[in-house]
Symmetry: C2
Subunit: 393 residues, 2 copies
């Protein structure tokens, strides 16, 4: 029998954290949108939220205020972790120790050291470990990855992602005391909004080897963490990349351009266009004697098909990995890659210098702890608010 496959016909899931996103996960599970999955338990340390869950979901779901009780209850086969970022790793490690499968929300954690411990625990326990990189279900990104992995784009020359469509107004940040603080989240747009795209960036284009970045903190909002980021990276083969993101731009842009020796691919407005060189630019460069000229290039509209099932898709993929041993689209252990880029971007700004990957993880943690310790930011004492997350990620 394959690793993680056990004789059962459905996976009983417990959700830890029943705020905005936890509720969204609970709803599609209760609506039976994911085959062979059953929501059997919910855990939240906040009694009011638990009370709300009982009212909303009925008493067939077991409610726990203590995580340890839920994972020892015997009513779940796996946990879906929708807790604050810092808690992802410790909660996952506890679950693995109880022999449970784990699907964690992004980010994998706040700092890589923590995530390495989680990955080690997953490895030792042998259970199915997934991460909610629900943008990996988007066929347009899958197709671009396919185009690169197949070699049809040639050798990588340049990547450029303008990803500024993560707009958030001040009321979003005021809605929870943990939001957008070093202590509560460990970062801003990098750690909350763009982990998906940092993951896709490396999933599609590979990991950079050095980073020089420019974060601006509390630029557009009354927060202490970054809400505006420009990062420059270089890859092992000398290719360059730019990643721009913000929660302050309205309207924003989501445009990913990847250039290789065989042409250029652009994803914008959920369509993929490939400007395909008939011959490699590198060959043309050497052979063409006319001074001014270009390789012949064909504009190709690349067909993209398949559902983009997002959260449901990732959860179902994880459930199938548990029940049928099928491969994970977003293995939990890959969560560290996007976080490495995220941490490197923070660190580069903090030290105002290059960060080479692998970077000094102790230094990052030291700097992060310093931010927490020296924080003078006073949150508005608003009551925590739960918004609908329909249409967000």
């Amino acid at each position: 029998m394959l690793k993680g496959v056990i004789a059962m016909d459905k996976v009983r899931i417990g959700i830890v954290g029943i705020g905005n996103m936890g509720r969204a996960h609970a709803r599609y599970l209760l609506d039976k949108k994911v085959a062979n999955a059953e929501l059997t338990a919910i855990c939240d340390s906040d009694p009011e939220k638990l009370h709300w869950a009982t009212q909303a979901f009925g008493d067939t779901i077991r409610c726990y205020q203590k995580y340890d009780e839920m994972i020892s209850s015997g009513v779940i086969d796996g946990v879906l972790i929708v807790a604050p970022h810092y808690d992802h790793s410790p909660l996952a490690i506890k679950a693995f120790k109880k022999g449970l499968h784990v699907l964690t929300e992004k980010p994998a954690g706040v700092y890589t050291k923590q995530v390495r411990e989680m990955n080690d625990a997953a490895e030792k326990c042998g259970k199915i470990f997934g991460i909610m990189y629900n943008q990996r279900t988007n066929p347009v990104y899958q197709k671009l990855r396919d185009l690169i992995k197949s070699g049809e784009l040639g050798d990588l020359k340049r990547t450029n992602w303008i990803l500024t469509n993560w707009y958030r107004p001040q009321s979003y940040y005021d809605s929870g005391g943990w939001r957008a603080t070093w202590e509560g989240e460990g970062g801003g747009v990098l750690i909350n909004q763009v982990p998906h795209q940092l993951d896709l960036w490396q999933w599609i284009c590979g990991m950079p080897v050095k980073v020089r970045s420019f974060c601006q903190f509390g630029k557009y909002h009354n927060i202490e963490v970054e809400d505006d980021v420009t990062a420059y990276v270089e890859y092992e083969n000398g290719a360059t990349g730019v990643f721009v993101t913000s929660t302050g731009d309205a309207p924003g842009t989501n445009r990913l351009e990847v250039t290789g020796t065989m042409g250029k691919a652009v994803i914008e407005n959920d369509t993929l266009t490939f400007w395909r060189n008939r011959m490699s630019e590198r060959v043309f460069n050497e052979d063409f004697k006319g001074g001014f000229g270009f390789p012949e290039c064909w504009k190709c509209e690349i067909p993209v098909s398949g559902d983009n099932r997002q959260h449901e898709g990732i959860t179902e993929n994880w459930v199938n990995a548990i029940l049928k041993g099928s491969s994970l689209l977003a293995p939990g252990t890959e969560g560290i890659n996007g976080l490495i880029i995220s941490n490197a971007i923070h660190l580069s700004t903090w030290i105002d210098d290059w960060v080479h990957i692998p970077f000094d993880e102790e230094l990052f943690l030291e700097k992060l702890m310093e931010k927490i310790k020296t924080s003078t930011f006073k949150k508005l004492k608003n009551k925590a608010v739960t918004f609908s997350v329909d249409g967000t990620h």
Copy 2:
């Protein structure tokens, strides 16, 4: 009588430098594409090129091997400088001293110190001084500038120019011994191809106050200067910007995005689209209480009209300034702005650090001279080749 206006009905022009671009200028002047302008003289130190010019243009045009003779000849009212970059400033200064009007090709010079001397000479002499920033005649850039100057885009937040459509194959670089050397050109794509867009960038968005850049030298070609550049800038109000250029990408991109508090404008494929916020994002940010939401935004296709007469347009505008006292679209003294950005981008890479504007011009010059002195680059000993520049800038 207005400054520079003299009683004459046409401007007699002498061109210095009759290579690729010089020939293009000569042709449209001979074809009478520019009203009230007459090509009366040509100067080139290369006897073969002069011979070619006599054959091609006939003997009504005076040919000079020595620039001093041409500017003392009495047969010209103004010079069009199409010489190597380092010579722009000294040639212009000589012409001003003879009381001639000057229209210089871009770049204004190779280093700002040199250009300041040229600007001083122009100021003292009071003659009409223009620069061949022929992209300023493009109505689509004029319109974007108008949109910003009128305040309709609001306060600047972000600029992003991906300008990688300056592809050049190796044969281009092999076609002249001066090309793409520190001694011959003083730089690569920054000094030869993109001065136009560095000018437009500052003309439209204003000057940055600090620059952190990443040039790669001889990355895609057998040259010693930069052929791949990524630059990050910040403006006085904290807005950020990115400028990416290369002569190694095929096919390239030319996409300028400018974001302000009132929305976002994008120029791509020679069209201007404005995503217009109905209210300022800054006001929405404070007033909206729903957590997730955006200012109402209208996608506006901005009409752009008018001819883009490029080189002919700039020459005619300069001629009209001489004859009629009309204002210059591209005053020569503004040439220094794009060069400041260009020099700052070089310097930032050389010192691997931030460059604040105004920067240390002596340091830049010192570093440039060091590059020239320590150059070990050996050019292929090809005969100089003259290509057609139809369709290039």
